[in-house]
C-alpha cells in the first residue's frame, strides 16, 4: 500500500488540479469539495493514463524520470490553480460563502440516515466480493490486467500486448485501465494484485460520490441521498467494481459528462464545458462503447442547442467541449491507427446488414432487454418499474431545467438504442452475448439513469441553489 499510495495521490492531485483550474469562476471550491474530489478520480487516472501511454511511446518503460515528470506537472498545475482562485477572489467574482440554514428538513435527515446505512452495507459487500476473487472477474485477468502485465513486465517489448502470434483477444480495446494499472505497478515495482483492486474501489466510490454531490448541487441533498442509496443498494454495481471491470469507470465518465453538462446549464462557464469534453474523451479511452456515447453527445448537443439557441450558441459551447475532448481523442486515434485490430462485434458491414435483416434477432434482443428492465440488479422488487412509479407520483419538472439536461436524456436514450442495435447486428452467438454482457452494459448506464431520474423529478424539499432556481431566475 505504501508503495502504491504516492502514485494514487499523484493521480488524485493532478485530477483535482485540473478540476480546480476549470471549475466555474463563480463557484467556490470548498462547498463543492465532494463534487471536485469525485471528478478528480476519473480525471486523475485519465490524465496519468494518457501520460503513461505517451511516455511508453516516446521513452519506453516508465521509471523515476516519469514519476518526477508527473510530480513537476502537479506542482505547476497547483500553482496555476492557486493563482487563478486568488485572482478571482481579489476580483470579487466569487460570492461570499453562504451561511447554511440552521435546521435541516426532516426529509434530509431520513434520506441521509438510509443512505448511510446502505453505504455501510455496500462497503462490507464490496470488501466481501474483493476477498472472494482477488484477481477480479474474467475481463480483469482476461483483458484489462493482462494487458497491464505486458505494459509493465514487458519492458522494451511492451508492444507484445498486441501480438498477433498468440491467442490474445480484444486487442482493439482502449487502454485507460491497462495503463492505469501498469502505472501503479511501475510505482510499486511489482505486479501486486492490490493495484487494480484499489482502482476498482476508487471508481466505485467516486461514482457514488459524484452522483450524491452533483444532485445535491444541482437539485437538493435529499435527491442526492435517494439516488445514491438506490445505486449502492444494487449489489451488481458493487460486484462489477470489485471484479475490476472497465464498465464501472466507463459509467463514471458517462455520469461525469452528464453532470458537467447540467452544471454548465447553471453556470455558463466554458471551463465546465471543457471538463465535460475531457470526461467524454476519457470515456472513449476506456471502452469502445465510449465512441457511441461521444457520437450521441455531439449529435444530441447539436440538435437541441442549435434548435433552441442558434448556431452561435452551439459553437460557443462546442469549442471548449472539443478542446477538452482533444487529448484523449488524439491518443485513441494514434492507438487505433498504430495498433490496428479487427473488432469481433463487427467483422464487416455486409454481415451487420445481414444480421439486421433477421426479424428473429430483433425479437430475442427485445425480450432480453424487457427481462433486464424488469429484473435489473436482482432486487426482490423490480427497481426500474418502482422508479417509474416514483417519478410519476413525484412529478417531472421538464420545462424549468433548460436545454442541456434534455441533451443528457436524449443521449441516454441514444445509448440504449445503440446497444440494442449492436446486439442485433453482431454475428456473435446472441444468447451467449446477451447473457454475458447485457446486465454489464445496463450497469454502465445505471448511474446516469439515476442522475436523470432524480434530476427531473420534483424534489421532496424545495430547491435552493439549483438548476431550477437558476433557470427560473434567468
Amino acid at each position: 500500500v505504501i508503495k502504491i499510495l504516492p502514485s494514487i495521490l499523484l493521480a488524485l492531485g493532478l485530477g483535482s488540479a485540473v478540476a480546480g483550474l476549470f471549475w466555474p469562476r463563480k463557484r467556490r471550491l470548498l462547498p463543492d469539495l465532494l463534487f471536485v474530489l469525485s471528478l478528480s478520480v476519473g480525471l486523475g487516472f485519465g490524465i496519468t493514463s494518457l501520460l503513461f501511454f505517451l511516455w511508453l511511446l516516446m521513452f519506453g518503460p516508465a521509471g523515476t524520470a516519469f514519476a518526477l515528470c508527473e510530480f513537476g506537472l502537479l506542482i505547476a498545475l497547483s500553482v496555476l490553480v492557486v493563482l487563478k482562485r486568488r485572482r478571482l477572489q481579489a476580483d470579487s467574482v466569487m460570492p461570499a460563502p453562504l451561511r447554511s440554514p440552521a435546521r435541516r428538513p426532516l426529509v434530509q435527515w431520513i434520506t441521509g440516515v438510509v443512505f448511510f446505512l446502505t453505504l455501510l452495507a455496500a462497503g462490507g459487500g464490496f470488501l466481501w466480493f474483493v476477498r472472494a476473487a482477488r484477481y477480479g472477474g474474467w475481463d480483469a485477468w482476461g483483458i484489462w490486467n493482462l494487458r497491464a502485465k505486458f505494459l509493465f513486465l514487458g519492458g522494451p517489448f511492451w508492444q507484445d500486448a498486441f501480438s498477433t502470434q498468440g491467442s490474445l483477444s480484444h486487442r482493439d480495446y482502449p487502454l485507460l485501465i491497462p495503463t492505469s494499472v501498469a502505472r501503479l505497478w511501475s510505482y510499486a515495482g511489482a505486479d501486486v494484485s492490490l493495484a487494480p483492486i484499489l482502482i476498482g474501489a476508487l471508481f466505485t466510490a467516486a461514482t457514488a460520490g459524484l452522483l450524491l454531490s452533483s444532485l445535491s448541487t444541482l437539485r437538493t441533498k435529499s435527491q442526492g441521498f435517494m439516488a445514491t442509496t438506490v445505486l449502492l443498494a444494487n449489489s451488481y454495481f458493487l460486484v462489477l467494481g470489485a471484479a475490476q471491470y472497465a464498465d464501472l469507470p466507463l459509467g463514471f465518465f458517462f455520469l461525469s459528462t452528464l453532470a458537467l453538462l447540467c452544471l454548465y446549464e447553471q453556470t455558463r462557464d466554458p471551463g465546465v464545458m471543457a471538463l465535460a469534453g475531457a470526461t467524454a474523451g476519457l470515456a472513449i479511452w476506456t471502452k469502445n462503447e465510449g465512441l457511441l456515447f461521444l457520437a450521441g453527445l455531439l449529435l444530441a448537443h447539436c440538435l437541441i442547442t442549435v434548435r433552441k439557441g442558434g448556431v452561435q450558441a452551439y459553437l460557443r459551447q462546442l469549442l471548449p467541449l472539443a478542446l477538452g475532448l482533444a487529448p484523449a481523442l488524439l491518443a485513441l486515434a494514434y492507438f487505433k491507427i498504430h495498433f490496428p485490430s479487427s473488432n469481433d462485434l463487427f467483422p464487416s458491414l455486409a454481415i451487420a446488414l445481414k444480421m439486421l435483416g433477421r426479424i428473429s434477432r430483433w425479437r430475442v434482443v427485445a425480450k432480453a432487454f424487457a427481462h433486464q428492465l424488469l429484473h435489473f440488479s436482482g432486487w426482490s422488487v423490480p427497481v426500474i418499474p418502482l422508479l417509474a412509479i416514483y417519478a410519476a407520483v413525484a412529478g417531472i419538472q421538464w420545462k424549468q431545467l433548460g436545454n442541456l439536461p434534455k441533451v443528457c436524456l436524449l443521449l441516454l436514450l441514444w445509448m440504449m438504442a445503440g446497444y440494442f442495435l449492436v446486439y442485433v447486428a453482431t454475428p456473435l452467438p446472441l444468447d451467449w452475448l446477451l447473457q454475458t454482457s447485457l446486465s454489464r452494459l445496463l450497469t454502465q448506464l445505471w448511474p446516469s439513469a439515476l442522475f436523470l431520474i432524480f434530476l427531473f423529478t420534483h424534489p421532496l424539499e424545495p430547491d435552493s441553489d439549483s438548476v431550477v432556481a437558476n433557470s427560473v431566475s434567468r
Partner: protein, 132 residues
Amino acid sequence: MKLRSSLRIAAALCVLGVSLVSGFELFKLVRNPLAPDQDALYIARFDGIKKALPTRGVVCYVTTSDDSFAAKKNYFLAQYALAPLVLRTAADCDPLIGDFPASSIPPLDSRRFVVLRNFGNGLTLLGRNTGR
C-alpha cells in the same frame, strides 16, 4: 396539493424501504463464509513452470481438447499467470505447456509429444517428438 405531497413522500419512502431491504440482503451475504478463491489458486499453480520458461516470446499451450468454456478460462488464466510471455493455443511449437488440472499425466499422444518436465498439479512442459 397536500395529497400530492403525501403521495410524493409515500413513494419516496417506498424507494428507500426497498433499497434498505436490498442493503440488508447484502449485509446477510457478507456474513456467509467465503469459498476458496479458485482463480487465485489456478494462477498460483504456474509459479514453478514460470521459472523454466523464457521471459518473453511465444510458447505453445494445450489444455482440455474441446472448445469449452473451461478450456477458454484455463487459457486466459494461464496467459495472465505467464504474461508477458505470449501463449499460443496450438501444439505446433516448442516449448509446449500442457495444462490438464484434472490429470497428473497429460492425455496427449506420446508418439507426438515427450514430457520434458512434470511440475505436478497437472502442469507439464512438453516437447514435440521428432523421432530422433
